[in-house]
């Protein structure tokens, strides 16, 4: 029984059921098909490109950017480069990046490498504290990993959890995303199929609270259909794709 005006639930369901039972033919013309079987792939990944190529091309088309590196140490290096580029205008001194907990980023020695470059990771555990929230909101660069990425559209999936704030990939103007090859799929549908087969789909949704599929930087064309980036979400999104399969 739900909350709300007494009987609303029963009334609504009752009316719907009664009406459905009465009508022989519900639609003017039914398509006469059952629920389609997954995968219902809408947009296949291009056959003539590797998954990485396709992902990178799409992301760049959307005004994002992408680096492909081999592994480990290269990732930290590239991250540093990017952060330096983005913060070049800020006063010199230690730079703080809003981040997931280092363990969640799966890049060995990331914290240490960045520290050598005077960059520290701020991975808040509880953003309900107003002062922590204010501190997080003032940071221009965020780093996250991903739950999955998709080559056909250049999308990534962010799944919140302990050590994985929503804020890190949402508040800062610039978003750095670490994309391990093992989590790069051709399409959403391929990923969903795998989760389904492994019995993990419901759990993932349930435990994440909010699963976010992100495709490129935030944008709007509301003003005279002119494209503007960085309306509320990040203005730049830079992916670093690295091979973690060895």
């Amino acid at each position: 029984m739900g909350n709300g005006p007494a009987g609303a639930r029963e009334q609504i369901l009752g009316r719907l059921r009664e009406s459905l039972a009465k009508q022989g033919r519900l639609f003017r013309q039914s398509i006469g098909l059952d629920l389609p079987d997954p995968p219902m792939t809408v947009f296949p990944s291009p056959a003539d490109k590797s998954l990485v190529e396709s992902f990178a091309t799409k992301l760049v088309e959307l005004s994002g950017s992408c680096d492909v590196v081999r592994a480990g140490a290269d990732v930290a290096e590239r991250l540093m480069q990017r952060i330096r580029e983005w913060t070049a205008q800020s006063p010199s001194g230690p730079i703080e990046i809003l981040s997931w907990a280092p363990d969640e980023l799966h890049v060995p020695r990331l914290e240490q490498t960045l520290a050598e470059g005077d960059i520290s990771l701020f991975a808040p555990e509880d953003l309900h504290d107003q002062s922590i929230r204010a501190r997080a909101a003032s940071i221009d660069v965020g780093i996250t990993g991903i739950e999955a990425a998709f080559a056909n559209t250049g999308s990534i999936v962010l799944s919140p959890g302990a050590g994985r704030s929503r804020a890190a990939g949402l508040l800062p103007l610039n978003h750095l995303v670490l994309v391990p090859l093992s989590r790069l799929y051709p399409t959403f549908e391929a990923w969903l199929l795998k989760l389904r087969q492994e019995g993990r789909l419901e759990t993932l949704l349930h435990e994440s609270g909010q699963l976010a599929v992100v495709t490129g930087p935030s944008k709007s064309a509301d003003i005279e259909l002119t494209l503007t980036l960085g309306v509320h979400g990040p203005k730049t999104i830079h992916a670093i794709v690295f091979d973690d399969t060895e």
Binding site: G4, H128, A137, S165, L192, V231
Partner: protein, 480 residues
């Protein structure tokens, strides 16, 4: 010049047709959106996607009560509180109560046509609670005090200059017509709203029954913000939005984006399955879902279930030659305009005759049906509504009399011939130009001659000519 949405239909249309700025904006926007749609659907197997989308929605509507119960079960299992509202008033009361009980002063809102429909903002504001629209287009019309004029592009009717003027006045922005600067001004203002808000409100594009998940789509990121930053999150959802499986939501999402804005996908697709889990750094402490009927079961009872298939993508608006001429405000005080608006506005209303002109605001050209991702036969629904409205006596009396007289006459050949003779005689005496075309007809036909001439009835009808030639023809066909 603004269109008064509460003025009578003919006044609204006249105002719209006289507004050159509006029509330039509409032209530009709808042709752009049609073009991008064409490109986006050319890249996929469109027919297959439409068939699958249609099959999913048919299944969902056919099984609506069971799916709603399943949705409710799973939302509750996820830690959400579920509320049911039969009417707009009930829905607004539920949301206002949630806000009051938690001492909410300010709310941020992500774009939602359902909340426009039920006038949620007004209800909250009447209760002393501030509502800030965060979708850029919605924010602009909120500042301007206007309703949206398009389902997915709420300020399609405004020029950059109009928006700049507004921002200068309301935000103290420096004078500029640069959209990027205007966006930055809005971003700054709204960022502080997001962080300070006590409650976030969203609509719902799709609700997944099997996992208890509310999905919302945006390009700006305000959806994620509004549903992640404030401590309380309320999702307001039309009951027809429920779908069975996760895969269905992903398919319909892509159907909406390709048809409506010509994108592969929108930038953001947020799938909320409950409040913040323990140990998570952020997320709302509470999540509420309000299941709103507000005329939807009435649509079912009125036997227009087809109208519930709509995904709210806006493709029909972008392709409609009538919408292009008059824009959304001409459809009146409704959240829904264009072809789908002409159908659901009277159907959602308790008294359909309050929107009686809308189903007639169409030449039945059929492009909407071609672009609809779920193959809704909009022209058919418009025709059915025209019939239903006429049965309710909402058409002008003289019209019914004229049509009845015509059908009386025309069902009997002898009467038809007499009518033709009469019409011929009549057309001879009406004012004509030198070419013999009629230039002035009595009302209501004067509406034709205001801008067009009309040929006279021919001195010899086809059947007269046929009869004349009959004997000759019979002779010639025998001889070859």
């Amino acid at each position: 010049m603004n269109i008064d949405v509460s003025a009578p239909y003919q006044t609204r249309v006249k105002q719209a047709l006289a507004d050159d700025n509006l029509r330039t904006a509409l032209d530009r926007a709808t042709s752009r959106l049609s073009e991008t749609r064409a490109q986006a659907v050319a890249a996929i197997d469109l027919q297959r996607m439409r068939d699958e989308a249609r099959a999913i929605k048919e299944h969902a509507i056919k099984n609506l009560p069971d799916l709603l119960e399943e949705l409710e079960r799973n939302l509750i299992a996820n830690g959400c509180q579920v509320h049911w509202a039969q009417t707009a008033d009930e829905a607004n009361e539920i949301v206002t109560d949630i806000a009051r009980q938690r001492d909410v002063r300010r709310t941020v809102k992500s774009k939602s046509m359902a909340t426009e429909e039920i006038h949620l903002n007004r209800a909250l504001e009447d209760a002393g609670i501030k509502v800030v629209e965060t979708d850029l287009g919605e924010y602009i019309i909120q500042l301007a005090g206007e309703p949206p004029s398009h389902i997915t592009a709420p300020v399609i009717h405004k020029r950059a200059e109009d928006i700049s003027e507004l921002f200068q006045r309301e935000l103290g922005m420096r004078p500029t017509n640069d959209p990027a600067e205007m966006c930055a001004a809005a971003r700054e203002q709204l960022r502080s709203e997001f962080l300070a808000a006590d409650m976030g409100i969203s609509g719902c594009n799709f609700a997944i029954a099997e996992t208890g998940t509310i999905c919302i789509i945006t390009n700006e990121g305000n959806g994620r913000m509004a549903t992640s930053m404030p401590p309380v999150y309320v999702a307001v959802m039309g009951i027809e939005k429920v779908v069975p499986r996760v895969e269905d939501a992903f398919l319909l999402w892509q159907a909406v984006t390709r048809s409506g804005t010509g994108q592969d996908v929108t930038v953001y697709f947020s799938m909320s399955s409950g409040p913040r889990r323990s140990g998570h750094p952020d997320g709302p402490e509470e999540m509420h879902v309000v299941l709103v009927d507000s005329g939807r079961s009435r649509i079912m009872e009125r036997e227009y279930a087809d109208a519930l298939l709509c995904l709210r993508c806006g493709a029909c608006l972008n392709s409609c030659p009538v919408y292009r001429e008059i824009g959304g405000h001409a459809y009146g005080n409704t959240a829904y305009s264009g072809p789908i608006g002409a159908v659901v506005t009277p159907l959602l209303a308790e008294d359909p005759t309050t929107a009686k002109e809308l189903p007639f605001a169409s030449s039945l050209c059929g492009v909407c049906r071609e672009v609809c991702p779920v193959k809704i036969d909009l022209p058919r629904l418009l025709l059915d509504l025209r019939h239903d409205l006429t049965q309710l006596g909402s058409s002008p009396k003289y019209e019914g009399a004229a049509i009845r007289a015509y059908s009386n006459t025309v069902e009997k050949p002898a009467r038809y011939n007499r009518l033709s003779k009469l019409a011929r005689w009549f057309s001879r005496i009406l004012p004509a130009n030198t070419e013999g075309d009629l230039t002035k007809l009595p009302p209501p036909l004067s509406a034709w001659t205001r801008s067009r001439v009309l040929p006279r009835i021919a001195s010899r009808s086809f059947r007269a000519l046929w009869r004349d030639g009959r004997d000759t023809r019979r002779g010639s066909s025998d001889n070859g």
